[in-house]
Structures are given as C-alpha cells and as structure tokens.
Symmetry: C2
Subunit: 192 residues, 2 copies
DNA sequence: TGCATTTACCTAAAGCATTTAGGCAAATGC
DNA sequence: GCATTTGCCTAAATGCTTTAGGTAAATGCA
C-alpha cells in the first residue's frame, strides 16, 4: 500500500483548490479523498471531521487574503490605499471564488477571534489613518467598509450585476470614489 | 393511513419556519418530513428535490421581504424612506434569520430574473428618487445600497460586530446617516 | 543491519440524507 | 356506488460521514 503523503496542510490546500473548481459548498471529504486516490476514512487521521476540514479551508483563505491585503497597502495611504485594499478582495473573488466563499463562511466566535479575520479589521482601520476619523466613527467606518466589500463580492459572484449596464467594473470604481468622498467628509451627526 | 394534507405551499412555509429555527443550511427533506410526521418520499410529490425545496424557500423569503419593503416605503421619501427601507432588511434578519439566509442564497440567473429580487432593485431605485441622481450614478448607488444591506446583515448575523464597542445598533444608525449624506452629495468624477 | 514502534492508509460497518419505483387506500367526480 | 385520481406508503439503491480495528510502510534506535 503506497503512501500518498497526506497531511492536514495538504488536505486543506487541496480542499481550497477543489473549492475554486467546484464551489465551496460542494467540497466533501469523499471528493477530496477521490482526488488523492485514497479511501475516505484515511482523511480522518488528518482532520477531525468534515466541518473541521471546511473550517480549516476558511482559515487558510482568510490568511491568504490578509497576506495579499497587507502587501497591497504597504507603502500606500489615503485613497490609494483604499483602492488597493478593496481591489484585493474583488480580485480574490475572481481568482479564487471557492476560497472567497470559504472566507465568508460563518465561524464560531472563538475560532473567528483567533483567525486572520482580526488582521482584516486591523488593516481596514489602518486604511482610515489616511482620513480624519476619530472613535467611534472610525469603527463605524470599518464596519461600513467591511459590509461593502463583503456584500459587493457576494452579490457580484452571484451574478447580481451581470447582463445589465453599466458594467460591474465601472460601478466598482465609482463606489470606491464614493467611499473615498464619504470618508473624507464623514457626517458628524444625524441629519434629518 | 391518515392524510396530513401536504402541499408545495405548506412545505415551503414550514421549511421557512424550520430555517429560522435551525438555520437554512440545516433544512433537509428528512427533517421537514419528520416535522409533518410523514415519510420522506412523500415530499417528492410536492417538490422536485431537495434543491427545489431550498429554492422555493428562497423565493418565498424574497417575496415576503419585498412585501415588507413595499409597505415600509409607501408614503415616505428621502432619508425617511431610506431608513425605513434599510430597517426592513435588518429587522427581517433578526426576526427571521433562516429566511434571511435563504434570501441570500445564490439562484441561477433565470430563476433570479423571475424572482422578487427584481422588485427589490426597483424599490431601491425608487428610494433614490428622493436624491438627485441621474444614470448611471443611480445604478451605481443601487448596487452600493444592495451591497451594504446585504453585507451588513450577513456580517452582523455572523456575529462580526458583537462583543465590541460601539454596539451594532449605533453603527447601523451612523451608516444610514453616512449613506444619506453620500447620496445627497454623490461625487461626480474620480477625485484622486 | 535488525527489530520495535509509530504512522499512514486500509477494510468493514453503521447511520443518515436523497431519490426513484411501485403499491394501496383515501378523496373526488360522475 | 363505482371509477379515477391523488396522497402517502414501503422498498431499495446510492452516496456522504464517521468510528473501530487491522496491516504494512516508515522511522528510530541498538
């Protein structure tokens, strides 16, 4: 019985690739075992169960995404940083749709708190250094940006903006313009 | 053999309730059959398959949500309409988390085009009548609002904003203030 | 090198969800 | 009151998940 050389690491990476190919929801232990030409039960020495596998793929995607974002914002500030940062999310969605879907998966609070998710929030806050926001407005803005990036990627990948003018590319640019303008001129109080 | 009185309609409604109780992802034909105290195979006279059931729950949720939104914006305009409209989404998420998750499920393009999803887009556009936006800016703004509502609900339900100050309620209010300000002052061109 | 231990993958089996085929009894229509 | 339709059934195949226990390959140490 030849050994294939399974490991948690290899399973997670292969799982991420599989997600990009067939969709994150479709990633199963069975399919993954098939890819490695191995019996399903063999995976259970490396991952606790199917849920554990998916969680690890999510954590992997969050890390990868955070690394890319960190690269993108290094040496940039203001709108330049905002655009570079935002484009990381959008590009990741296009390049790795399965991993991006994984990155949107709900994690239990403890796992989430120990994930690269916190790096994402920190980087978003760093972007805001280029704008003059003080607490608690900075936090509100972090949450707004997170919502927009998350929501836009999700809707766009669901095909929400395709087959209608103007094209999604154009909208994305204009949304970033709008967010930049908003951050430079964040309203201080409710204006009914 | 007593007849329970299954129908597609009843299955979908019960499926929606089940989703709110145990989560949309956890809704299965088996669990639904259990609720009706009926054998699983019996469901297959009323829905094509498990995917069909989920799709119908999604369509149902989209309709219900669109009806609520229509009620909310009737007789309102400007920021008043924007806030009422946005709150429908947020309240629905809290009141019916499973249905809200269903409403976020990816539909195939043909099904989506025939769904209440188009009403949502139309209503969002109607909201913008209170602001002075011309095409293509109105479309960009529709997409931005969709992204924010979608993204915020998704992140909030995933617990993204809990256990940290300021509370989510406060952020939501301030985000709506910000969106209102942005729509009243939508940037016309790129401002580097 | 030779043997013991650990490790990696295996077979077997049970549990549960999905789906189809075919049957019987209850409801419906004439 | 009988024929037809309809609703729910049983039975069975398929596939994914998970655990238990076995065997052979790799590793380590004398």
């Amino acid at each position: 019985m030849a050994r294939v050389g399974l490991s948690t690491e290899r399973l997670v990476r292969a799982g991420a690739e599989l997600a990009d190919e067939i969709g994150f929801e479709q990633v199963t232990a069975s399919e993954l075992a098939r890819r490695f030409d191995v019996k399903v039960a063999s995976l259970y020495s490396h991952v606790k169960n199917s849920q554990d596998l998916k969680t690890r793929i999510t954590l992997f995607a969050l890390e990868e995404l955070a690394d890319r974002a960190a690269d993108a914002i290094a040496g940039r500030a203001g709108k330049d940083a905002l655009v570079a940062f935002a484009n990381v999310y959008r590009d990741y969605e296009r390049e790795h749709p399965g991993r991006a879907a994984a990155a949107r998966m709900r994690l239990d609070p403890r796992t989430a708190a120990a994930s690269a998710g916190v790096r994402h929030a920190q980087m978003t806050r760093a972007i805001l250094r280029g704008y003059e926001l003080t607490e608690p407005d900075a936090t509100h803005a972090v949450r707004l940006l997170g919502s927009v990036f998350h929501g836009y990627a999700s809707l766009e990948s669901a095909g929400g903006f395709s087959h209608s003018a103007p094209d999604s590319e154009e909208t994305w640019t204009r949304i970033l313009d709008a967010l930049d303008a908003l951050l430079r001129n964040w309203p201080t109080a409710s204006t009914p």
